[in-house]
Every structure is written in C-alpha cells, then in structure tokens.
Amino acid sequence: MQPSSRVAPALLSLASLGLALAGPAAAAELPATTAAVLAGGCVNCHGPDGRAQGAIPPIGGLDEGYLRARLLAFRDGRDAPGSVMTRLMKGHDTDQIEALAKWFARGGTR
C-alpha cells in the first residue's frame, strides 16, 4: 500500500469534507500534485494532455470507467500481450490507477 493511502484521521476528515463538496470519490484520492507527477510519465508517449502525436493512441478525455478498466487490464496482464503498457502498469497500484483514470478523463489537466 502507498503511504499516501494511510491518511491521518484529521486529514481524512478534512479530505472527506472536501470530497463531499466535490461529489462522490474514493477515500484514498491522491493529492493533485502527486497525480500530476504520475500523469507526467504518460504524456511523454500519449502527448500533451493525452492528445496523441502519432501511432500511440490518445487518452485525454476518454471515459473514466473505460480508462480504469483498461489500465487494470494492462496491469493484470489481460490486455495486449507484450505491450509496453503492461510493463508500465505493473509498476502502478490501484490508487495510482484511480488517480490516472480521473486525470485523463478530465482531459489531462487537473
């Protein structure tokens, strides 16, 4: 588990307050700066804000559920055998995948 998912109780209540205002979300949402760092590795291939620059497909603005499902499938080896995506997603945990799905569903910006 990531340290970031063990949020101190006081912070947790603050966070859930914010989330209650922002709408339903997972309890362990990663901070925006951490999500930005995570997404930084993706845009090197998928283009700024996930706008493709060639053969690698676009990911900016895709449906959040679709993104989550594909990232999990890559990670669990159920999709595109041998793909670089599998090799990369195996290094990401569920919280990180959650943050990435949200980030790119919003169009690749916070």
Binding site: Q2, P3, S4, L30, P31, T33, T34, A36, V37, L38, G40, G41, C42, V43, N44, C45, H46, G47, P48, A52, Q53, G54, A55, I56, P81, G82, V84, R87, L88, K90, G91, H92, Q96
Partner: protein, 427 residues
C-alpha cells in the same frame, strides 16, 4: 530565519491569498521568487515548463547557450539517413510563450552561499532555487590518446551537434568495404542502448550504399541493454555486418590513435578503422562541479524523493548528470525527474505538501525502419533510495511477429513527437 518559521510564514501568507512568489517578498519586500535553470535540454526545459504550469507567478529563467536544441534521441536515425538534421532541432519560442525567460548564455559559475549564478555574458542572476541539468561532459583524461582534438578526427557524436554531422560526413566519404569501428565505454554512461541502436542505423545506411562494409563494436563490458533483442535484430536485418566484441573477448579499448584511426585493446590487439567512433567515459557537466554538487565519482548525488542535491540545499540536479541508478541516463527519465522536481519546488515555495516520487522510463530503439524494440521501467523512492517498482518494467518479447516490431517502430516515432511537444511545443 529558520526553515520552519519561513515555511510557516509562506504558508500563512499563501493562505491569505498573497502573491505566490513569497520568498522574494520575504527577502526583498517585492517581486517574485526566482528559479534559475541551467540547461535547455530534456531535464532543464521540462523543469522550466512545468514550474510555470504549477506556479505561474514564479519567475522562471532558463539558461541555455544554443538558440536551437538538437536532440540526441533520433540522432542515430539522422546517421542512417532516416531523419533530417533540422527535424532534430527545437527552438525555445514555446517556452517563452509559456512565460519562461530564456537567456542564451553559458552558466560559468555558481555561488551557492550568495545564491547566484554568473553567465558568460557577464550577467549575474540571483536565485531562490537553482536547477542544474547540464547533461554530460566527456572525460578527456580517461582514455589514452582520446582528447578533444582527437574527437575532431574520431568523433564521439555523443552530444548532438557538429560531432554528429562530422560522423555522418565521414560515413558518406568512406569507401565501400571499409570498417566502421565503435569504441563503447563501461557503465554508467549516457543512453545505455544508444551505441547498439547506432550500430543498426549505420548498418542500415551501409546496406543501401556500401554493402561490403563492416561494423566492429569494441565494448568495455560483457552485457548491455536489450542485448538479446539487438543481436537478434542485427542478424535478421543485416546478417553478419555487425560484429560485437565484449570485455571477455578483449573488447576493452585502452588506447586510441586518432591520427592513424587505430585503437589498441587491453591485451594489445590493434584494430584499424576507416571511420572511428569513440564514445569515451563521461561525467556530469562542468557547471555541476563549479556548483560543488558532484562527488568523487564525477556525478551528482541527489535525494531520491525530490532530486535536490545531497551537497547543497536549494540546488536541484536532473538527468544524465545525476547518480540515479537503477534508472538509466535517458531523455525519458530526465523528463520525469524534472516533473517531480518542478512539482516539489512549486509546492515548497507555495507552502504546500510535496508530491510523492514516481519516475517512468521507456527507451525505444530502432533496428530498421520497421523494426523497433523497447525497454521500460517504473521507479519510486524508498528510504532515500531509488527503487524499481516490483514487477514493473522489462523489454519487448523475444519472440514477436513483424507486425509487433513494426508497431514498436511507429510507437518510437510517436514517443519522440510527444515528448518534444511536451517540452518545447507550443504548449
């Protein structure tokens, strides 16, 4: 003022909605905090753009001598004749449009105590945070006979520029049936798969224009990045044109005679070349030494969680200049290190919590126009060390059909376009 009270003050000012650039306010009563970045290559230019993105009020100054930066990535494709020289060049208009101040000068010296940097123009810039991404310099004292003058006869072409163009001209002038000899250093060096991609790209050119020529790789080590995949690809596309000699078979070169284009190995074998490409051992760019952030290895030790240098607080270092094993010295990694450092510096100056470290790498290598391979890795920081995330990474499958290799060749081109747009693009 102590770090803590300063941080608290920044935080409370930020909460009060004051301008974001607080340290300069604290110090001078006006203006904004300044981050100076040395080097407009993969690490430095990324850091500049992302600092502006995270904290638009910051004053971000990028110092880079070249008006256009030419990338090492894809310079092997230029040698092959698959890319024009101009297509490797990237200007700084996009960064200027993003609000980065770009000064075309060389940073000559750093005063870490007074927090300033002196430029070749005579100008001195003060900074609140300094970021160094100067890339590598050659160690001219490390390989007997190979100094800067020798590189005019036997180019390294390991910085994209006149050296790369010189090597291409030598390949064009070489007669069919000649021998292209490459001298390859031990780890660590810039771009671990680079020499082996270069061998393939030179072979691509020879196959079409000088098919009787040979390529001899003299290597100071027994293993190299994507070795199995490279050897398989070389064989498939170029037959016996490329011969690789590792350390165990006396591949380590100990002396270069650039005048006669000969090299001598550890056990005294002499090899004569028609074109001699010597990639010497390397170290962090000189400015890192001037700033006092290198250690005895010649590289810059950094904190794994944010790439601040271990030697001097407030100075960050990125990319090839750093000691960042197990990450390779690649453009991709320099870019993700820069994104972490930029987010960290912005958070620090804004009094916010720092981001968690995560680094990504993928190096695509081209063996032929429709034959690409890749190596990938994901890294984090744990207990002050950089660690590969368990289960992640690895190379392309050893058995794959032509369509898979062609897809990875196309992905490599797509990667290059994406990372260059991310760094130097219109934004």
């Amino acid at each position: 003022m102590s770090g803590l009270s300063r941080r608290q003050m920044l935080g409370s000012l930020a909460a009060g909605g004051a301008a974001l650039a607080l340290p300069a306010i604290v110090r001078a009563g006006a203006g904004s905090a300044r981050v100076v970045i040395v080097g407009g290559g993969f690490g430095g230019a990324t850091a500049a753009r992302y600092l502006k993105r995270h904290a638009p009020q910051l004053q971000v100054t990028l110092v880079e001598p070249a008006p256009r930066f030419h990338t090492c990535p894809f310079s092997n494709l230029y040698l092959a004749g698959l890319r024009s020289w101009d297509s490797l060049g990237h200007g700084f208009e996009g960064l200027r449009a993003a609000g980065v101040e770009v000064i075309h000068a060389r940073a000559e010296d750093v005063d870490a105590r007074r927090r300033n940097v002196r430029l070749s123009t005579g100008q001195t810039l003060g900074w609140d945070r300094l970021v160094l991404s100067p890339g590598v310099d050659m160690r001219w004292d490390a390989l007997a006979g190979y100094d800067e003058a020798a590189s005019q006869l036997a180019p390294h072409a390991w910085k994209a520029g006149p050296q790369t163009q010189l090597l291409r001209r030598q390949m064009e002038a070489m007669e069919d049936g000649g021998s292209f000899v490459m001298v390859i250093p031990d780890n660590p060096f810039r771009c671990p798969p680079g020499p082996y991609e270069r061998a393939a790209m030179v072979a691509h050119y020879f196959k079409r224009h000088k098919p009787r020529s040979k390529i001899l790789l003299l290597d100071a080590k027994d293993n190299f990045s994507k070795k199995g995949l490279f050897q398989q690809g070389w064989k498939a596309l170029y037959g016996d044109m490329i011969e690789w000699v590792g350390l165990a078979d006396d591949g380590r070169v100990t002396r270069v005679d650039a005048g006669t284009l000969t090299v001598e190995t550890a056990f005294g074998q002499i090899h004569k070349a028609a074109v001699l490409n010597v990639i010497p051992p390397q170290k962090a760019g000189l400015i890192a030494e001037r700033a006092g952030v290198v250690d005895a290895s010649g590289w810059v030790p950094v904190k794994a969680e944010n790439f601040e240098t271990r030697q001097v607080a407030g100075i960050y270092a990125l990319g090839d200049a750093t000691l960042a094993a197990p990450m390779p010295k690649s453009a991709f990694v320099a870019n993700t290190q820069a994104k972490l450092a930029a987010a960290t510096i912005a958070a620090d100056l804004l009094g916010q919590a720092p981001p968690a470290a995560l680094f990504t790498n993928t190096c695509y290598s081209l063996i032929g126009p429709d034959y690409g391979i890749s190596v990938a890795g994901v890294y984090g920081a744990a207990e002050g060390r950089i660690v590969e995330r368990p289960g992640s990474g690895g190379v392309s499958p050893g058995t794959a059909d032509a369509a898979f290799r062609a897809a990875e060749a196309a992905h490599g081109a797509s990667w290059y376009a994406a990372i260059c747009a991310d760094i130097w693009g219109a934004g």
